[in-house]
Symmetry: C2
Subunit: 347 residues, 2 copies
């Protein structure tokens, strides 16, 4: 159901060994061998007892959780023919939690994993999950992160849940601290990348043309599974930003949340958004077919959105995309943008 390599649908190699053929102990051992579980200053005791024992070096800590459900957050096989790998889910489930911790101004220190796996899940899928998770921690620079525990279960719907804790070196970066007059910035990759990737993966194409999926499409599609939240930016902004949050449901939808929490409005800068779009199009080519829609409403990019007092120099990697104003909601060129165009699991 989840071949190790993406796109290998319909290959006629031997049936892979499944989790139903492995013991729970074997799977735990496999995860232990691949995930970052080694000793650290902040972890007194990791996997193996009723709970992990942590020794935070900061006075204040943060805690968050995110679930990924097959059929909701990703498809086992997409209309394009691409088969989601364990690596994809592992990278993303680590990165999106790291992004939340970062957006509070904290540094991630520990994670707990829940893997609920259908009986037919290949053992290699589990190994891929662990490799993807470890790769995200390494590529994003989460050097202190350790996996300290978890729970394995059977299920009919593959579900992964990651809860993560972090330490706050300074003040917490809240959504509620924005003031009129501040500039609005983003830090991270171009807005809209994950949305372009989603569009590509969700495009139906004849089975005989799966192989023809072009090189760029393959590269672009990675953006959905490999978000690159700017991990050093969170703690650095904590000392200077008014407010901040992770953009996971789209700029407009999340911006509206920040605006509401702070009792302000956000005015986006058309010129800055066009520049964002130009970068997106340079990267995605004709695949960025929905233009500014990707930038405004696309979710899952995991950039950092923040507000900075007037006159504060832009931190490295940050770009100004508008300003904080009196009022409410998010507007562009005088027009109110509809936040309900984002994603709601139940609506």
């Amino acid at each position: 159901m989840f071949p190790r390599e993406g796109g290998a649908v319909g290959s006629n190699r031997e049936a892979p060994r499944t989790v139903a053929e492995a013991s729970e102990a074997e799977l735990v051992e496999l995860l232990h061998a691949v995930l970052p579980v080694h000793a650290s200053a902040g972890v007194v005791l990791g996997i193996g007892d009723d709970a992990a024992v942590l020794s935070p070096s900061a006075v204040r800590t943060v805690a968050t959780v995110d679930a990924a459900v097959e059929g909701e957050d990703f498809l086992s096989v997409w209309p394009s023919g691409y088969a989601t790998t364990g690596w994809d889910v592992g990278f993303k489930s680590c990165a999106q939690n790291l992004s939340d911790v970062n957006a509070m101004g904290a540094e991630a220190t520990s994670a707990l994993l829940v893997l609920a796996l259908p009986a037919a899940t290949p053992v290699d899928w589990v190994r891929g999950y662990a490799e993807g998770f470890a790769a995200a921690a390494q590529r994003l620079g989460a050097a202190r992160l350790r996996v300290v525990g978890g729970d394995l279960s059977g299920t009919r719907t593959l579900t992964v849940s990651v809860s993560m804790s972090g330490e706050l070196p300074g003040p917490a970066l809240l959504r509620s601290g924005a003031s009129a007059g501040e500039s609005l910035i983003v830090v991270g990759e171009t807005l809209g990348r994950a949305d372009v990737a989603l569009g590509l993966l969700a495009s139906r194409r004849p089975a005989d043309r799966v192989e023809a999926w072009d090189q760029r499409a393959r590269a672009v599609s990675r953006a959905l599974f490999e978000p690159l939240p700017p991990l050093s930016a969170g703690p650095a902004l904590a000392a200077i930003a008014g407010a901040a949050m992770d953009i996971s449901d789209g700029l407009v939808r999340d911006g509206a949340r920040l605006a509401r929490a702070s009792g302000v409005g956000l005015e986006l800068d058309p010129v800055a958004l066009q520049a964002e779009l130009a970068t997106l199009e340079g990267w995605a080519g004709r695949h960025a077919s929905r233009g500014l829609e990707h930038v405004l409403y696309g979710g899952e990019d995991h950039l950092l959105l923040a507000t900075l007092p007037e006159g504060t120099p832009l931190p490295t990697g940050a770009r100004s995309i508008g300003r904080v104003v009196e009022g409410a909601g998010v507007s562009l060129a005088g027009e109110h943008l509809d936040e309900r165009r984002g994603f709601d699991h139940f609506a």
Copy 2:
């Protein structure tokens, strides 16, 4: 699919309002109104930002996670006709995490919830879940516990995941600290109760006899969904016990884990186990049909298993059930007991 009251299968009342008909915001609000989320000394910021901000008062903390999956950990409708309620899942998912935190010698302070809900789940199921969760915290005396965040998702398989953190007032209670010569004790309700309940719920009976399910069967079946871990015992034992752990997979299986972690053997006392069985039979009557099997191999009771140095007076509520010896594994009257008779999700 999950009526609010158990056993109401086939009633012809109006179809309940489902989560598909509610917004995510409405469900969050509902959870917020029922769960213990109010301000506390240890929680600087709860639900509503990218992550919660905690301010632990202890130098060391613990962290654990447990998932409950429909079809694996519970059935929506059991062969007996009983329909699992949101309250059942809420109580249990809180209690089993509290038990893990307690078994480390810690006091629970914060929890993160993941609720992955099929579209047809009634909104009342979600309310019931929150009420059950809150009831467990209250009945078990987890006065400091707060729900500080979570994630809602759709799914095809109802899945709940709770991660919990706690603070260690003293040393951590590990599985690895047992020494030969110590006495083996349990604290909590009678061993085997949940197993008797499971047997009752899983017994197939003709649909026309569901109503005839006797009063005692109904009462006994609560033991599966309402485990009562002895929450004050963990921190109290931390100062005097050699080793301790939560019994979730059965006395023999979990005892073998403690024995392995400590490099010792455990010798169960036949007289003490008979006393345990007598109490079980007094409570369950003819429903305790598997005798000592319930006591030795039944899971999900969430008692505390611990070892005490010779001469240590038994703490209130504790009963001696054997002793720690040189060697390995768990034995009864000279006979080695097979730990593989416990539960393995994948074997």
